[in-house]
Symmetry: D2
C-alpha cells in the first residue's frame, strides 16, 4: 500500500469525527510521544525481544505491532498536516547519514559523528 | 517509493557498518524515543506550527522534516527486526479505531473509548 | 520530605517484590519514557492547561499529578540505581544554565545557546 | 536541599529571562519529553549501565547525571506551574502502588495489575 493512501484514510477518519480542530502539529507530536511511550512500556521489562521470542509470544507480538502502528499513524498524520513528504524526508536523511557515518569511521561503532 | 525498499536500504546501511549487533528491539525503541524527543524539542516553544508558519520558516520546516525522518527510519527498522508488517499493522489499527471511535460517539470529542 | 527517604521507600518497594532484577538503568529509562508518554497523553488535546483550568477540572488535575508522580518515582529510582545524587545534579545543571543562558542573550527568547 | 527551594530557583531563572510566557504546561511537557529522549539516547547502544560501568566511565556518568537533571528540572517546573505538590503526589502514588501490586500477586513478576 502506498503511503499517501494511508494518509488519506487517516485524514478522512479525522474529518468524519470533526477531529481536525485537535490535530495541530504540537498536539499530534504529544500524541506520537504518548504512543512511543506505550511502545517503550511493551518492552521495558523483557529481556530479549527478537524474532524467535516474538514468534512464540503472540500476545506481545500483537501489542508491539499495535504500538508501532499507532506511532506510524501519528507520524503520517503530522507529515500530512505539516505538508512534509515523509518518504522523501527519509530518503534525504539516509543520504545525509551515509555521508556522516562513513564506513571507515563508523564500522563497528555507533558513536555520534 | 515502497516501504520495503526503504527498509532494505536501512538494513544494508546497518549491515555495512556492523551495526546489527546494536539493533536489538529494545535498543531501537530507545533510539526511536530519542528521535521523538528531538521532534518534541523542535516545536516546544513555538506558538503555531501550521503549513503557513512552516512555509515562511524554512529552517524549522527542515528541522521538522529531519526529525520526522529519524522517527520513521527507526520505526521501519524496528518493524523489520521484529518481523512485523508495519503497513498491515497500520491498516489493522485503522480498522480497530473505526470500530472503537464510532462517528456517533466521537463526533467533536477525542476522549478515549 | 527528603528526597533520599522517598528513594529508600522506592528501593524497599522493589526489593520486597523481587523486582531488582528488572531495574537495570536501561529498563528504568524505558519505564520513565512510558510514564512521560502518559503525561503527554493527559494534555495532548487540551487547549489551556493552567492553574485556573486545573482548579475547575479535578479529574484532569489528578491524572496530571499521578503521571508527574510516576515520572518522578522512576527518575529517583534511576538516580539511585546509577549512584547519582539527583539534587546535586540539578543544582550543577542550574549553574551551567545560568552561565549558558545569560540574561543579556536570552531575555525574551528561549533559543538554544 | 528542599524541593521547593529548587523550584523557587527555577522559577526565578525563568522570570529573569522573561521565559514565563513559554512555560505553559503543554510546552513544558514537550520540553520534558525532549530531555527524556536525550536520556534515552545516552544509554541506547550501551550493553550494561550499572554502578560498576559508570564508575569507570566518567564521561557517560556525567551525561547521565546531566540528562536526569534536565528531566528533574522540567518536572519540578511543571508541578510548580500546575500548582501540584510533587512530593505529596509521589507519596500518594507509592501508597496506590502498594495496594495495587501486593507482594503476593507481584513477587518476582512486574505485570500490570
Amino acid at each position: 500500500m502506498e503511503i499517501y493512501k494511508l494518509q488519506e484514510e487517516i485524514a478522512l477518519f479525522a474529518a468524519e469525527r470533526d477531529w481536525e480542530k485537535f490535530h495541530t502539529v504540537k498536539n499530534l507530536v504529544l500524541a506520537l510521544v504518548g504512543e512511543a511511550g506505550e511502545l517503550a512500556s511493551v518492552v521495558q521489562w523483557l529481556e530479549n525481544v527478537d524474532k524467535n521470542f516474538l514468534e512464540s509470544n503472540e500476545k506481545i507480538r500483537e501489542e508491539l505491532a499495535d504500538e508501532l502502528a499507532d506511532v506510524f499513524i501519528y507520524l503520517l498524520r503530522i507529515a500530512d498536516v505539516a505538508g512534509i513528504d515523509i518518504t522523501k524526508a527519509a530518503q534525504d536523511k539516509m543520504q545525509k547519514n551515509t555521508n556522516r557515518y562513513t564506513i571507515e569511521k563508523s564500522f563497528g561503532n555507533a558513536e555520534k559523528q
